[in-house]
Symmetry: C2
Subunit: 708 residues, 2 copies
């Protein structure tokens, strides 16, 4: 946001609104928008604009925005693409704060130049742009339906930001059908200027919004989005549905909105880091929002399943593992709580099975027992249609149970049965009871609720903070190295430069030094300690081992002397014209657990860090974790633990634990360097050898690239 | 099945049926069953039995089965558990073919003894038992509703076998609500005698059944089930929903039906091998059955998505990857097929996007274009509610499109929209149109359809057959070895015995021989070839390397002589009382890619074979594949390719490909041995070193156990 930018509040709560392209023809979008604004009961001023003048739906039509003397907060633009630039200019001159550009035909079809021009003009004149290529904006607080979608929108506390216009319009209908109320729905389309992050700022502070759903196809500025999300999820649950997970899907998404989907693995990890809940399908995202916007949060991890059918109880148990819902397993307590309300053939172990013989009253008793016991924190209520469940009283019983306890602890319902049960489910759904046709659907919403609960809990716990202090890294020295590289207009660091940079960051590398004669060689080897390796130093010799310019595993002075003489002789005889500057004597690196740490500026997501076990684990098993920078110690631990091969660092087959602490340090250091040194685009240590706990790590090979 | 066993057909198509425990009290199960049989319109004879006599629902009640002179095919038993044994005896004496025992209170609550007694008596007298602990049986062909569930069941072509009674009853209702017709629904409960496999035999031959769904909690006889499924899936699609996937779920399942869930990974692999389609949730299983029972099979892999909204098109593309639906990507052809029916702003690449401006007529044109082009084999039809889609005509347009083309190629629909669209979806669902509220739900059904299509295609392709001929394995020698072990009442083979057995199977092991003096040692080393390893042979020395009894990497005669002398001296001085029999001289095994092959008799699934890469891949990454035996070459290749670390065998980082052919041989050989030698319970080669292609494998360590 720039200093003279308008407050985002005016986009959602404008005092006056203009519709440029308001049409007299009821089949046109420009008419529908005016009609929706009026039908929605918007209390502010509405100015239809059309060069033809006249009247639309009883409103005076202005021929141009210049005719209006009032201040306009939002101008909705629905005119052909080629006329939009001129309209943007007029709006900006008139002091319009936000231009909502419905029109399509810009970057999504390759017409990026025109889009860039619009934005440049608007921003230079203190106006912001939403769109283009969108269906508009609905805001419950302003009673404003400035969309060309359905005229009836149920107001409520769920906010939706959709990148896709068509899907956004359909979601207006779908939420209405599901009786889910919206606080806002807005499409961002091509995100030429405003993107999700700015809209989130408003939604996070808007008291009418309890849960936020975003449909994303491509990301324009991953770094700001990520930063915004990290803060926003601490205030409100945010559900993201991102398409383009698959390769073909990513291609389809790119051709749909003209923005990059980015690698899905990175997106997933970064969303998890931000505390965002990632849904897979539209239905899942809506289900989650419904429960997240209405349910209290669980006070702890003791979830209990109550069922009258063993089979669906088992299915729900499986689903709890899949979705990360923690099940209560204190057998004694549950026996005490439920023994009186569960018949002999039933089960008082979780899932609590009150059997098919139970009546609705029995079911109610079991639910109330769970409700009144404080150590039970949430309840999954299941049922199969059974003789004991009188369909006539089913819906009212469930409705009463839910409404009298809905503020106490989270509850979710699922029932399997015939037409009457299904009718009851529709009835209950319409009354806001979180009830689902399938057990997995029901448990999935609790998965989201618990994930959000864990995010908040973690946030409330004391932060361990970033542990890399500036003293540990000599940034002065690093800048010196980088400046020299830049002066030479190189985009990569030479081996010795990368080595020096690692020294400045106190990341241990194998010791080495250049020796120019036999005395120096012997001295160097002694200082480094045996065994050593030796390599000829000559710009003229590329394939050093081919000409006998390399010697490995030298264990004592004699071997070092022999090897030095052999190397010099080999090189002189085979490459007589090469200028030999000396030999490099280096520590022979001991075998350890190979890891890879990389930090880079991702095109989509900004500065990120990656960690994985080396070689085949990364290459074949794709076992890598990603985080957006900056990260603290806790996040670095999480990313190390996330990889499937983590047990190798803990030590398998009786091996001792590896020096995880030093791996952690190195991750944090690379992150800090990338964050601080803006000219670095890539640092990769591959491999970072990790030794036993207390014996440290060694960066065997380091590659550093500069930004172009 | 035994020789005198009744034909399973009589269970589903009985001529006369008795209800033992028919009750005068309308609230009792024994009354409900009689009522359901009558209301269902069963045309055969119905004999209610109750010692009180009298009349129930107009039928004469018999005091005992002995009073009936007619032949009874099926007796439904609904009396207290303690009376069931007596009833079973009477039924058997009367020549009843099948006893359907509704009563619970047997093995599911630990009362296994009584259950075993029932079955033993029945089987000895040529009667079979279904249950106990079930809700009964419905058969459309016989117009027979012998359940205590809902009295109205919609007849159709889907068969359901449910292990859970409560869920079975609820599914009767749920299928009715969804307007899905059933050919049969039957619960198997405790599976004391009849299990899924016998019921499948009938259902596979029943022309009225087009798709079969099974809900399984535990498996009694995995081997026969697996064999039956392998055949059955070649005739009809079978969908399995198995609960107890998770650890806690498996425990819950065991306490619910008293049967073991078995390791879920093994179950999954074996179901895949059998061609069974495994659903995750009830809703998914039903959706799949609906499409599998009514849709034609695709004629090929070219699936096309047609949508009026880019967003859901991208979501569907992702879903296609998730569910294995192959998308057509011949850009030129699609351009030719769709260019005329797609507007300029749309997309003629898959997904075909006719844009939100399209009308229902445009949508119909696009669908018809896809229908009439032979190279398009299936169509996913999506839509968002949009201005062009007149809700009034929506459902009739879709219904007409579907019904006029439903026999041509598979079609599935999903639409997102408001109350009118949702109403239309209900309307269309009720008319048998495969239409779903969520895109993922829709695509998931195509995933099942394509999986079934691939199974059938693979089956039609020529079989490669089992390649291990008997000549390759010397079974005579193996039996000799095993007999000696059995004589000694051991349950494991000693190292040299296991080695001999591998020789008999021509599985190469490292060469070795026992030498008793220096001359023999030198000779042995020369024969084996350098380098060799050496190990003292003495029953008295357990920790051989601790006393200096082992020498590695001996490269020539001198080193061998030195090592021999050192070993003897070390052992004599440190273990003066040990009797030294000699030393073992063995080939030093070269490092290769470590794999593990195991064949064993699984408690739940019978003889199985497992394959994985060695060490950490199996231990840490759980990267193992399983198959039920026997397997052929093709299946063995599939199980090698299934593991995630398979690229390591293909060669990564410029390494050459490994000798996969010999791995394959070894898998087939272990399978064949386990199949042929019934006394072996376990064979495990760990590791089997795999070398470059053409250089073979080496079984470094082999462990063989016998059945107890």
């Amino acid at each position: 946001m720039r200093v003279n930018d308008p407050d985002i509040k005016f986009l959602f709560e404008p005092q006056a609104i203009a519709v440029i392209g308001a049409s007299h023809n009821p089949t046109k979008i420009g008419h529908k928008i005016v009609a929706n604004i009026l039908e929605g009961g918007y209390p502010g001023q509405v100015y239809p604009i059309n060069p033809k003048g006249g009247e639309i739906l009883g409103l005076q039509v202005y021929k141009s925005i210049e005719e209006i003397t009032d201040k306009i907060d939002v101008a909705v633009i629905a005119i052909p693409a080629k006329l939009v630039y001129e309209a943007v200019q007029s709006c900006a001159h008139h002091g319009v704060k936000f231009a909502v550009i419905i029109t399509s035909g810009f970057s999504e079809i390759g017409n990026t130049e025109e889009e860039t021009k619009l934005v440049a003009y608007a921003r230079a004149h203190g106006m912001r742009i939403l769109g283009p290529n969108i269906f508009g904006l609905y805001s419950a607080k302003a009673s404003l339906n400035a969309t060309f979608g359905p005229s009836e929108i149920t107001s409520g506390n769920i906010a939706i930001i959709s990148q896709s216009g068509a899907l956004g319009v359909a979601l207006v209908g779908k939420t209405k059908a599901a009786n889910m109320g919206l606080s806002t729905i807005v499409s961002v389309g091509n995100k030429s200027d405003l993107a999700e992050e700015e809209l989130l700022e408003y939604l996070v502070s808007d008291e009418g919004t309890k849960a936020i759903m975003m449909y994303i196809e491509g990301i324009k500025n991953g770094e700001t989005l990520d930063t915004t999300l990290q803060m926003a999820t601490k205030k409100k649950p945010i559900v993201v549905l991102k398409s383009g997970r698959s390769k073909k899907g990513a291609i389809a998404a790119a051709s749909h909105t003209g923005s990059l989907a980015g690698a899905d693995e990175i997106f997933s990890d970064i969303m998890g880091q931000s505390g965002v809940l990632r849904a897979e399908s539209i239905q899942e995202a809506l289900n989650w929002c419904q429960v997240l916007s209405s349910s209290p949060l669980p006070q702890g991890d003791n979830c209990v399943i109550i069922t009258n059918g063993g089979g669906i109880g088992v299915l729900a148990t499986d689903a709890c593992e899949k979705y990360g819902v923690p099940l209560y397993d204190d057998i004694e307590t549950m026996h005490n709580v439920f023994a009186e309300v569960v018949p002999k053939f039933g089960s008082v172990k979780n899932p609590i099975d009150i059997t098919g013989q139970a009546s609705l009253q029995d079911y109610g008793r079991a639910l109330k027992a769970a409700m009144s016991y404080d150590e039970i924190h949430s309840i999954i209520c299941l049922g199969c249609e059974a003789a004991g469940f009188d369909p006539e009283f089913f819906s009212t019983t469930i409705e009463t149970l839910f409404s009298s306890h809905k503020l106490d602890k989270p509850m979710v319902f699922s029932f399997v049965g015939g037409p009457k049960i299904e009718e009851s489910i529709y009835y209950l759904k319409a009354r806001g009871v979180p009830i689902f046709f399938d057990v997995y659907e029901a448990v999935s919403t609790f998965g989201a609720l618990y994930a959000h609960h864990r995010n908040l809990k973690e946030y409330m716990e004391e932060k361990t903070g970033i542990t890399i202090s500036d003293q540990e890294i000599d940034f002065g020295l690093i800048e010196e190295i980088l400046n020299r590289v830049k002066q030479e207009k190189r985009q990569f660091l030479l081996a010795y430069e990368a080595e020096k940079l690692m020294q400045a960051a106190r990341v241990p590398m194998p010791q080495s030094s250049i020796a120019r004669n036999l005395d120096e060689v012997v001295k160097a080897a002694r200082e480094i300690g045996y065994p050593v390796v030796m390599k000829v130093v000559s710009k003229d010799i590329i394939h050093k081992s081919d000409v006998g310019g390399v010697a490995l595993d030298l264990e004592n002075t004699d071997e070092v002397i022999d090897a030095y003489q052999a190397i010099i002789q080999n090189c002189r005889s085979r490459m007589p014209n090469a200028i030999i500057e000396g030999v490099e004597v280096a520590e022979m690196v001991q075998k350890g657990t190979e890891t890879i740490i990389g930090a880079r500026r991702d095109q989509t997501f900004g500065p990120i860090v990656a960690f994985g076990l080396g070689g085949i684990y990364v290459e074949v098993m794709k076992d890598v974790s990603f985080r957006a920078l900056p990260i603290d110690r806790k996040e670095a631990i999480a990313m190390i633990k996330q990889i499937k091969s983590y047990p190798l660092l803990l030590g398998v087959r009786g091996e001792p634990q590896k020096d995880i602490e030093r791996v952690l340090d190195t991750i944090l250091k690379l992150g800090t360097i990338l964050e601080s040194c803006k000219s670095i685009s890539d640092i990769e240590i591959n491999p970072l050898m990790v030794y036993e706990q207390g014996k440290g790590v060694k960066a065997v090979d380091v590659r550093i690239l500069l930004t172009t």
